[in-house]
């Protein structure tokens, strides 16, 4: 019987020839990750295990990105716990502000994730790296603690849903619209415990940044991971990212067998996907941009591990170029990594943002989870290119978040209401 990519990667890392959905396995990790929110608990639990050293100082990534630059004294104390641990254990991949980025944009950029890898991270959006043909999934702090000690983690092998993509996207749409459309169709638990495998001829028309966005939000459908096959675009990306020299291993490219088992097959013609907006308070509450009545907004946020990459900034800048943000609307742009920030600066995008009336922030997860750098007051509405619009996600419990693409977010900032990029 054939296996899916996910089943093959899990089997290979568990040292078994075959894995089947429902099977419980213990598997070897290639990379493990924690941030300034999740690592302090992991470090506390690691200490309780009682081992003196970490399993492999080169396969642990610690990225203080959530409440950094430290937003208050308790956050500073948490960041310090992570910094001290990194120093004590000679953690190679500890990224202090100045060289950091939002973890899920940073790790691929630094070549820390390779095709065929098994990656766990104490952050739910760890599923982002599936764009590179890796199995990667979010876990908790205790899982991360035990993996730091043993290099292994337990898994239940997931069933797989095949998402077959055909054609290519219309000009106004991007990867964000594909994943929002899917979540809208199957619901926030439509892929619960399952793997989402994106395949089909349409994948070749999606950029790497678009694929990262799609894999990133697999968790918003409840999925364990989102995964893409490896093509020429992936190989070119990996070649460049490996120049960092942080990972020197040979990698393995896995492909799903033609007779692999899928619990469900969903097909989309990309050409029919218009820009999507997810209404409060669930990512599944999606509507096509053409169906939306006037919704006035107070704030627009462009960035995050979902949509803070170069393509996203270029798209937003193209909409904003030569125009002014509507008076009364606050536009916050935050590039996802230092490299993206610098590239955007050199390309003139930052100038476009500032001239349009936006503010540009250092990389941080802050605004996305209502931490800092753009918290909402009661009754305020925001359009965000982030990933969640739960009650209180970006601030007060009576605020509202509408999830959309960078193009829709930028257009909405100009219009002062949710707007299509071709209307401004």
């Amino acid at each position: 019987m054939g296996m899916t990519m996910t089943e093959k990667i899990l089997a290979a890392h568990a040292g078994i020839s075959e894995s089947t959905p429902g099977q419980l396995i213990e598997a070897r990790c290639d990379m493990t990750l924690g941030n300034d929110i999740t690592a302090p608990i992991a470090i506390r639990e690691f200490t309780r295990i009682g081992v003196k050293t970490v399993w492999d100082a080169g396969r642990i990534a610690l990225v203080p990105d959530h409440f950094t630059p430290n937003k208050d004294i308790p956050s500073a104390e948490q960041a310090k716990i992570v910094r001290d641990f990194a120093k004590a254990h000679d953690i190679v991949n500890y990224f202090e502000i100045g060289e950091m980025g939002i973890e899920h944009a940073l790790l691929p950029e630094k070549g820390l994730v390779l095709p065929g890898d098994l990656v766990i991270g104490a952050d739910s959006h760890t599923c982002t790296y599936g764009a590179l043909g890796a199995f990667s999934t979010g876990v908790g702090s205790t899982d991360f603690a035990c993996a730091m000690a043993t290099g292994t983690c337990w898994f239940r092998v997931p069933e797989t849903i095949l998402v077959e993509l055909k054609g290519s996207l219309p000009d106004c749409s991007c990867g964000k619209d594909v994943i929002l459309k899917l979540i809208g169709d199957i619901g926030v638990d439509g892929a619960r415990y399952k793997s989402l495998e994106f395949s089909g001829q349409g994948v070749s028309s999606l950029s790497m940044d678009g694929r990262f966005t799609i894999a990133n939000m697999a968790i918003e459908a409840g999925a364990k991971n989102g995964i893409f096959g490896v093509d020429e675009l992936t190989t070119a990306y990996i070649k460049e990212s490996m120049e960092s020299g942080l990972r020197k291993d040979e990698f393995t490219v896995y492909e799903s067998d033609p007779d692999a088992r899928y619990s469900r097959v969903i097909t989309y013609d990309l050409g029919g996907i218009e820009p999507q907006v997810a209404f409060p308070h669930l990512p599944e509450n999606t509507k096509g941009i053409s169906e939306i009545a006037e919704i006035k907004i107070d704030q627009v946020v462009i960035g995050s591990c979902t949509n803070g990459r170069m393509e996203d900034l270029r798209t937003a800048a193209a909409v904003l170029k030569g125009k002014r943000v509507k008076r009364g609307v606050r536009l916050i742009v935050f590039p996802a990594t230092q490299k993206i920030y610098l590239d955007a600066l050199r390309e003139g995008l930052i100038e476009t943002f500032v001239e349009s009336g936006a503010i540009v922030s250092t990389p941080t997860c802050g605004p996305c989870l209502g931490g800092h750098m753009g918290v909402l007051a009661a009754g305020e509405k925001a359009v965000a290119t982030t990933n969640r619009n739960f009650v209180g996600r970006m601030g007060h419990k009576d605020s509202e978040v509408y999830l959309a693409s960078p193009a829709v977010a930028a257009a909405s900032a100009l219009a002062g209401k949710i707007a299509s990029p071709d209307s401004v």
Binding site: I37, T38, I49, A122, G140, A145, D189, L282, K397
Partner: protein
């Protein structure tokens, strides 16, 4: 009441709907600490201001589908456990919350019938070893599947850290 030897729990039900996410279980504005008591003080506050005030040791959370969806923050099951909740019953759990609960030893039971047949304030009696849930107020019994042996092993060891420590010592 909480008897850890026999894994029997008795308490009052706090009932919630579908898709209770970890942002409402513990909002991110409180994630600048990992102290269980501080987290417990703000547990569920964005959807139920009364929860932290009214919850008593042994009480039970009962919810609909996809409980604990969203962020991987272990602060969520930690806050629930530290608030005194003995057990969470849901029609289904989001996967990261499920593994976090198992890993830290917070008992959970997946049981759609119980989720439908229990209301806010009902008195419940739970036998974790058999997966039996008794709604004492409504005089109805529900049965959930016990956890797979591998996960029971983690819970019996006292959590994943304890199990890992035992395994490391064996080596």
């Amino acid at each position: 009441m909480h008897n850890s030897e026999t894994l029997l729990f008795e308490g009052t039900a706090f009932k919630y709907g579908d898709n209770i996410d970890t942002d409402v279980i513990i909002p991110a504005r409180y994630l600048n600490t990992s102290d269980p008591k501080e987290l417990a003080a703000h547990c569920m506050e964005d959807i139920d201001r009364e929860f932290a005030v009214r919850v008593r040791r042994g009480d039970i959370i009962v919810a609909g589908e996809n409980f604990g969806c969203g962020s991987s923050r272990e602060h969520a099951p930690i806050a629930i456990k530290a608030s005194g909740i003995s057990c969470v019953i849901a029609a289904s759990f989001a996967r990261i919350f499920y593994r976090n609960a198992v890993n830290i030893g917070l008992p959970i039971l997946e049981c759609p019938d119980a989720s439908n047949g229990i209301g806010y304030g009902d008195t419940l009696f739970v036998d974790l070893s058999s997966g039996t849930i008794r709604n004492v107020s409504k005089k109805r019994d529900f049965f959930s599947h016990p956890l797979p042996p591998f996960m029971q092993e983690i819970i019996h060891a006292g959590g994943l850290v304890e199990r890992t420590r035992l395994k490391m010592e064996e080596k």
